[in-house]
């Protein structure tokens, strides 16, 4: 393994001190004196048509700047999914519409001098609804007699809206039926994962204003500034040129900010009124009217030979996209494409997904992106196969998991809403992950022992995972670097740091490549006027794509520096040059020149030019990171309460560019996953209204809820990634559901088929067993 100076070190997050001292500016930390406040009116019906809407009184209310409804806004059908163009999500959404598709759908908005005035004015809007029959259940929505949710003729890209099918996927490799017939054991099971929310502590917020040339500036809490610019231009029917999107510091995203929710409306108000406009979601709006995780029912059937090798794997996913189809197809693709290649030994594989419209809140992108749901089932069924064959969970996985140098036909067959790209694993430490994780949890001593203390029984469980690093041949990012007199460099790039530390990693990559310190890199990111393009932060693409672009730009700078040095030294072979500690030295002659001298020379003296370069990164590979999760739990047989005791997660993310930041991503995702496994879920009334849309009822974990957590980072080198790195941000959210499920089975021999594993459900499962 190569020796690095800055790569692999714990460079402090470059924005951390500013954040920790309260200096940093988030979207809402500016204010304009004449700013309008935007508030929304939401549909009280799960399915309805607005027969008429009267806004006269609201418009007359003192202090109101503008009232928006379907009557006075642009009618451009689009998707709110912030994805690359052309988007794989169906076009099924308008800024405002007559048709209401869930409780929380947008009826109207008021922009007024204060939030209070806007709120009052909303009450004056009179709406006449024609209420339609609603459908809240995925299976019901598929029936012939189900009401059609998207019956407008303009809808484009949905698979079969007449049957409420937003998307459908069918991928076959070999012949699974034949495969099952030729297997010694066949095991099948179904697990259901619920609606859940990302809960960034900063909700969606956007401020728009006109600059001095009349262009619209959108300051917004987004993961996808460039997609925001493109989609707002599309919806408002104005040129991209008229819009500037700025992403300042962002209070977390986790996928929910990969969506254009407030930006178009805010920009529209600013465009029409000329006034700065601010829209800030309340926590309740964040739950009901932003985006959620796709509720899914996942069925997995595995056929295996006596020795444990898989012969056929079939996965069926029923996914609920809610009222609109944002990320409908791609999340469902990932439920298969990020899970099935893990077991590449099976010659027969089939993946089917149906993505259903219902009259419930809108699902979207959420850390894990379908893989979380896929693994919830797959990794429990793998354990079930092991039990049938009297193999241990470790053995069955060791027999079947993908290894370095191998591929899976799924990579090609199932891409991101289209055909994928063949991939051979160039780095895969799964064997080592399993071994190290098992050792740390004490697998040999504990597995199957069911240690009991009164009604409390201990159990351990495990699961293995992969994700990806960006979408191959789709995601692109670019970075520009320029050199200053003191050998500092401005890095301008489109990468979108939501708190993950991407800006820091970018600085480390530049420092490593140019022989300087990370402090010498001035990072400016995610501003559509001032930085080059980047698709944004999703699909675990930050380090791999944005970081890769930074590396490419830095490599070009290196070349430009050497070009100057060649002339200065009168030497021609750059292989003799060493760029280190802020200077270039010739190994052959011992001559040396500092970067600062080079900068002065090129800026002021001789052969004058700006040393600067732009690098772009798009990759035919999406090297998967891998993880092995191990958990010890205690389950109280009397109450059904599960208490995680210790959680070990061993992760291969290639080179950990900054181990402390990697640790943060591992633990953060893991705790989110734990909470998803144990307490988080949406509850709805019979009419489709979310109950308890606040943190008092929707419980997310606090310091008092976390078990002992041991992250283990196993270093590999991924040749396609910057300095050997792969992604790490998403993968660890996928483990807790299956690992705890498997531990529960180890402890007391039951499976709970509906997540989260709340005590009442566990107890019911215990009773059903008896």
């Amino acid at each position: 393994m190569k020796d690095f100076k800055h790569i692999g070190t714990n460079t402090g997050k470059i924005d951390a001190l500013s954040l920790a001292t309260g200096q940093s500016m988030f979207v809402d930390d500016i204010s304009f004196p004449d700013m309008l406040q935007l508030k929304f009116l939401y549909s009280p019906h799960a399915h309805a048509i607005i027969e008429d809407i009267d806004t006269t009184l609201a418009e007359k209310y003192p202090g109101v700047g503008m009232v928006l409804t379907y009557k006075n806004t642009s009618r451009v059908i689009h998707t709110t999914a912030g994805q690359g163009w052309p988007e794989p999500s169906p076009y099924d959404t308008y800024m405002f519409n007559r048709k209401m598709r869930y409780i929380g759908d947008r009826v109207a908005a008021v922009a007024a001098e204060t939030e209070e005035i806007a709120q009052e004015a909303l009450k004056l809007i009179k709406v006449q609804y024609k209420v339609l029959p609603a459908v809240l259940d995925m299976e019901d929505a598929m029936k012939d007699e189900a009401p059609i949710i998207h019956d407008e003729p303009e809808v484009k890209g949905a698979y079969d809206p007449k049957r409420n099918l937003a998307a459908h996927i069918l991928v076959k490799v070999g012949d699974v039926e034949k495969g099952f017939a030729e297997s010694d054991v066949v095991v099948e099971d179904t697990f259901e994962v619920p609606y859940a929310q990302h809960c960034p502590i900063e909700p969606h917020v956007t401020i728009t204003y006109l600059d001095e040339y009349g262009r619209i500036v959108i300051r917004t809490s987004t993961q996808v500034p460039f997609h925001v610019r493109r989609i707002v231009a599309q919806v408002l029917d104005i040129p991209v040129q008229k819009i500037r999107v700025i992403k300042p510091r962002i209070g977390g995203g986790f996928g929910v900010k990969q969506e254009i929710i407030l930006e178009d409306v805010c920009a529209y108000v600013t465009m029409k009124t000329g006034k700065p406009t601010r829209a800030l979601y309340t926590r309740e709006e964040e739950f009901v009217s932003s985006r959620t995780r796709h509720q899914m029912k996942v069925n997995v059937k595995i056929g295996a030979k006596k020795d444990g090798t898989f012969n056929a794997v079939k996965m069926y996913v029923l996914s609920n996209t809610g009222a609109y189809g944002t990320h409908a197809l791609t999340v469902a693709s990932n439920a298969g494409s990020k899970t099935l290649p893990l077991y590449n030994k099976a010659p027969n594989v089939e993946y089917i997904a149906d993505v259903i419209y219902t009259n419930l809140p809108i699902a979207g992108a959420y850390r894990g992106y379908g893989a979380t749901q896929g693994y919830a089932c797959l990794e429990q069924v793998v354990d079930e196969v092991a039990h049938k064959l009297e193999l241990t969970p470790l053995e069955i996985r060791q027999k079947n998991h993908i290894k370095s140098g191998e591929t899976s036909p799924i990579f090609r067959a199932l891409g991101e809403g289209r055909e994928g790209v063949t991939q051979y694993m160039q780095s895969c430490a799964l064997d080592e992950l399993i071994e190290k994780g098992a050792k740390e949890i004490g697998w040999l001593e504990k597995y199957g022992k069911k240690t009991r203390n009164g009604s409390k029984v201990r159990g351990i469980g495990m699961s293995i995972h992969m994700q990806g690093s960006a979408i191959p041949l789709v995601d692109m990012g670019a970075a520009t670097l320029k050199m200053n007199e003191d050998a500092s460099f401005n890095l301008m790039y489109g990468g979108t740091d939501l708190g993950t530390g991407l800006d820091t990693i970018a600085a480390q990559i530049v420092a490593e490549t140019l022989g300087i310190k990370p402090e010498q890199v001035i990072v400016y990111a995610a501003d559509t006027d001032l930085t080059p393009f980047d698709v944004g932060a999703y699909a675990s693409s930050g380090t791999f794509i944005s970081g890769g672009a930074v590396l490419r730009a830095a490599m070009k700078i290196r070349e430009q520096i050497f070009e100057v040095v060649r002339e200065m030294f009168g030497e021609y072979d750059a292989r003799d040059f060493v760029l280190e500690d802020g200077k270039v030295t010739s190994k052959k002659t011992g001559k040396s020149v500092t970067l600062s001298e080079i900068a002065y020379q090129t800026l002021y003296v001789k052969n004058q030019h700006q040393i600067a370069a732009t690098g772009s990164m798009v990759s035919p590979y999406s090297p998967p990171p891998f993880a092995a999760h191990f958990v010890e739990i205690e389950v109280d047989e009397e109450t059904g309460i599960i208490t995680p005791i210790k959680y070990v997660t061993a992760v291969d993310c290639g080179t950990p560019l900054n181990p402390e930041l990697v640790r943060g991503q591992i633990i953060g995702a893991l705790v989110n996953g734990l909470s998803y496994a144990l307490f988080e879920e949406y509850k709805f009334t019979d009419s489709g209204r979310m109950i308890g849309s606040n943190f008092m009822e929707y419980r997310i974990p606090s310091t008092r809820d976390i078990p002992e957590i041991v992250p283990i980072i196993v270093r590999t080198y991924e040749p396609t990634g910057p300095y050997g790195a792969k992604s790490v941000a998403e993968i660890n959210i996928n483990g807790p559901i299956p690992a705890i499920g498997n531990a529960l089975y180890d402890a007391i021999g039951v499976r709970v088929h509906k997540v989260p594993y709340i005590p009442e459900r566990v107890l019911e499962a215990i009773r059903n067993k008896k």
């Binding site: 009397e638 109450t639 307490f679 419980r699 709340i758 005590p759 009442e760």
Partner: protein
């Protein structure tokens, strides 16, 4: 967002008398403010005036021979940290208090506010029932002590139009008494969905006296008198604990809502009843 937009004025009276005069004059439009957590989180549009209680000298925890006296504006943090609470009933009351809500809210929630708002949350009230607390109420002239059960038999709304809670008195219990509280929360800082508190006097292995209270959100907490009768005079054994578990399951009265079924709450109440008694057996040994 201004949630309490109808509030026009605030007063910080210096005496209880003054506070009550203002309250009476307000025609139901004034709110007494203890910590103000309920007031701000669940704004009542009727309210036009605040009466802050922080200058009434009611933030104290004192003791005399018989009682621990807690002033109404003492917060949960104040109480849990008070020296007299550290060993009171083996520190078990303090431990129960320190688990409520979160640090930030424990700093704000006052005992007076919690008592006056009893029907909404039940986390503190079961403890007060079991401890047979005396709620001290003043109408400006007299301070009257209500036994907690009697206090909640009042029409609280009417009583609180002319009175304020000034404090609570807890009996000092000797070593023959044990206290235990168990609660069910969805995660650590949740407001309990079910809780049970038991105070028992155990002499020579026999339960001489006992009080039990059960709270189940959103219902009010109550004294589980049937359970008390079941235990009183019985020998405290593991068998009794088991019997009491099943007795409780079939006799306890609990609320249900979308958070948790009635059946599961009854089941839990039974288990908590058993576990607290088993803890008592451990405590006696």
């Amino acid at each position: 967002m201004l949630k309490l937009k109808n509030v026009k004025s605030c007063f910080t009276p210096n005496s209880i008398q003054e506070a009550i005069d203002m309250l009476k004059k307000s025609d139901g439009k004034a709110a007494l403010v203890g910590g103000g957590l309920d007031i701000t989180v669940f704004p009542n549009p009727i309210i036009e005036q605040f009466i802050f209680l922080n200058k009434l000298g009611l933030t104290y925890i004192r003791e005399d021979e018989e009682n621990i006296k807690i002033g109404a504006t003492s917060t949960i943090t104040d109480i849990a940290k008070a020296p007299v609470m550290q060993n009171y009933l083996k520190g078990n009351v303090k431990i129960a208090l320190a688990e409520i809500a979160s640090e930030l809210l424990r700093n704000q929630i006052t005992i007076g506010g919690s008592i006056a708002r009893h029907h909404f949350y039940s986390d503190i009230i079961p403890a007060l029932y079991a401890l047979r607390a005396t709620i001290m109420v003043s109408d400006g002239e007299l301070i009257e002590g209500f036994f907690v059960d009697d206090f909640y038999r009042n029409d609280l709304k009417t009583l609180m139009e002319t009175c304020i809670v000034v404090g609570v008195h807890l009996n000092k219990y000797d070593d023959s008494f044990q206290f235990g509280l168990k609660r069910f929360v969805r995660n650590a800082t949740d407001i309990a969905l079910l809780n049970m508190a038991i105070l028992a006097q155990i002499e020579e292995g026999v339960i001489k006296d006992v009080s039990i209270s059960v709270g189940s959100r959103p219902g009010p907490a109550y004294r589980f008198e049937q359970g008390e009768a079941f235990l009183r005079g019985e020998k405290l054994t593991e068998v009794l604990a088991k019997d009491f578990e099943s007795f409780t399951k079939s006799n306890v009265d609990v609320a249900k809502d979308m958070r948790l079924s009635k059946e599961y709450r009854q089941h839990l109440a039974g288990i908590y009843a058993k576990e607290i008694l088993l803890d008592f057996i451990g405590g006696v040994r």
